[in-house]
């Protein structure tokens, strides 16, 4: 087996997402994953992706529909797909029930969108349950929020750092440093939050971003991921090799060993 590669931030579509090409998009992720060498896609499905309720504010019914589809995909795909259970913390009871239901069926982490600011107390019950089950929480992040943006209640690294300080036993994955906004702000914001692990995904490929991430938090806190642009994921993977800042061991950490450490034991059996 070649060196494992875990994509910590992936999404798949499903039949109720309002797109007729949803199967093509999923097939493209697997096709590209094979070329890149992804051994496990850690993925979530975000409600109905805006078809029946907003992507970042999914209704409880849509949350359940997405999670059901994600569970079905995991059953069909075996070791190459693992699930993050998506919840909307505005519906606390439903969120907790979904976590229990999906973890019992194999989910290994929690996906939080932008339904509520990251430091809001409403996220506490979700994080408490995540701690009980040893589930990392992947939180959608806008790197440096300077104002409100439509269709999401955005959070930045500083917001997530406040949540992480309240829940030191929970590992948080800060989503997509290349996913929009000013990542430089993020690196400062999470430097002293050891339970936050940034993922490298996002369409942004600014030169200097990877170097600054390594310098700010070190290789053992970085996670490789792709989100919705696997081309930039591959580019970053190649660029990491050229920074001159990483040893071969560091590369293994970013490719898969950090993920294997922060998720529950056995989460990647057969894939890493």
């Amino acid at each position: 087996m070649n060196e494992p590669l875990i994509d910590c931030h992936a999404h798949f579509l499903h039949a109720f997402c309002g797109r007729s090409d949803w199967q093509d998009v999923n097939a493209a992720r697997f096709r590209a994953g094979e070329k890149i060498g992804v051994t496990c896609h850690v993925a979530s499905m975000l409600g109905t992706y805006g078809f029946m309720s907003p992507t970042y504010f999914p209704s409880p019914d849509d949350v359940t529909a997405g999670n059901d589809a994600m569970l079905a995909m995991c059953r069909g795909e075996g070791k190459r797909v693992r699930m993050m259970v998506t919840v909307n913390p505005n519906h606390t009871g439903h969120a907790l029930e979904e976590i229990e239901r999906c973890v019992a069926a194999g989910a290994i982490g929690v996906k939080l969108l932008a339904s509520r600011r990251a430091d809001d107390r409403l996220l506490d019950p979700v994080c408490t349950l995540a701690a009980m089950h040893g589930l990392p929480v992947l939180h959608h992040i806008w790197q440096h929020r300077r104002r409100e943006w439509p269709n999401q209640e955005i959070s930045d690294g500083a917001d997530l750092a406040r949540l992480a300080a309240r829940h030191p036993k929970v590992i948080f994955i800060l989503a997509h440093i290349g996913g929009g906004g000013d990542y430089a702000h993020t690196f400062h914001a999470l430097r002293d939050s050891p339970n936050i692990h940034p993922d490298l995904s996002g369409s942004g490929v600014d030169r200097g971003m990877l170097d600054d991430a390594i310098k700010a938090v070190g290789a053992r806190r970085l996670l490789w991921g792709s989100d919705v642009t696997m081309c930039t994921g591959l580019a970053k993977l190649r660029a990491l090799e050229t920074t001159g800042l990483l040893s071969a061991d560091d590369m293994k950490d970013i490719r898969w060993r950090n993920a294997a450490r922060i998720f529950r034991a056995g989460s990647f059996d057969g894939a890493a």
């Binding site: 493209a28 300077r146 369409s203 942004g204 490929v205 200097g208 696997m230 970053k236």
Partner: protein
């Protein structure tokens, strides 16, 4: 492979690691890229690009075989016609212009005159849709993206016009391409530096609908990782893996 979208010099809104010609040459070697069309990044933000152009030609001179100068010409500036002639005589392979940064609107007649004059001089006009993602821009960076209307307007300005549009995404490309006649479409090449690959497969869809020959290789170095366009090409579906890009040098 020729990178049509490279720049040298610092960027006003964030630190960019070593944006220097000798580093760019090493990057071309590493990425197995033959040559690059190189602009002067600060000139986009200067009122008068003349000094930046002189700096560009001087900086690239030791690397003339690999790095080809693409000076900026500002068409609302006095004696721009002479600046264009000087650029051509100095060996420029193309000309850059930055309408949003210079506050030249989509139907500005000076831009149309520049596009026509470049065409008559057999120099492609390189346009930049954006330097950075909208969501991360400095509060003082308020120029906005180059609009599709501006590109369409220039493509329609004359039969000799040749545009190389950099840093555009799928929506922009489709809006322009399908808003032009077949003859006008032939006047535009698009660099692939900002086009998404899988799983959305924008690049593959554009190759299938518009044709790979309308696209050229561009990295947007030193602002973006130079590995990105190559990764995008490597991840194309198998039936497109041998797709040929356009040749900017015979455009």
């Amino acid at each position: 492979m020729i990178d049509v979208n490279a720049l040298v010099g610092p960027y006003p809104f964030r630190a960019v690691p070593h944006p220097d010609p000798d580093v760019l040459v090493r990057v071309l070697d590493r990425e197995k890229t033959e040559r690059a069309w190189v602009g002067h990044l600060p000139s986009a933000f200067h009122r008068d690009p003349a000094a930046g152009n002189a700096e560009l030609f001087a900086a690239l001179k030791p690397h003339a075989q690999r790095l080809r100068a693409v000076p900026a010409i500002r068409p609302d500036w006095p004696r721009w016609e002479q600046a264009l002639k000087d650029a051509r005589d100095s060996g420029a392979v193309a000309v850059r212009a930055y309408p949003p940064q210079w506050q030249l609107g989509p139907h500005d007649t000076a831009m149309a005159e520049l596009a026509i004059a470049c065409g008559e001089s057999k120099l492609p006009l390189v346009l930049t849709v954006r330097f950075e993602d909208l969501r991360q821009r400095h509060p003082l960076d308020v120029a906005g993206d180059l609009s599709a209307a501006a590109i369409r307007s220039l493509a329609r300005a004359g039969s000799g016009v040749r545009l190389v549009v950099t840093a555009a995404g799928r929506d922009m490309i489709e809006e322009v391409h399908w808003g032009l006649t077949p003859a006008e479409q032939e006047r535009v090449l698009w660099d692939i530096s900002w086009i998404w690959g899988p799983p959305e497969d924008h690049l593959a869809k554009l190759f299938r609908t518009i044709g790979s020959r309308r696209f050229v290789y561009g990295t947007h170095w030193p602002l973006r990782l130079t590995q990105t366009p190559r990764a995008n090409l490597d991840l194309l579906p198998d039936d497109l893996s041998g797709a040929k890009l356009g040749d900017p040098e015979t455009f």
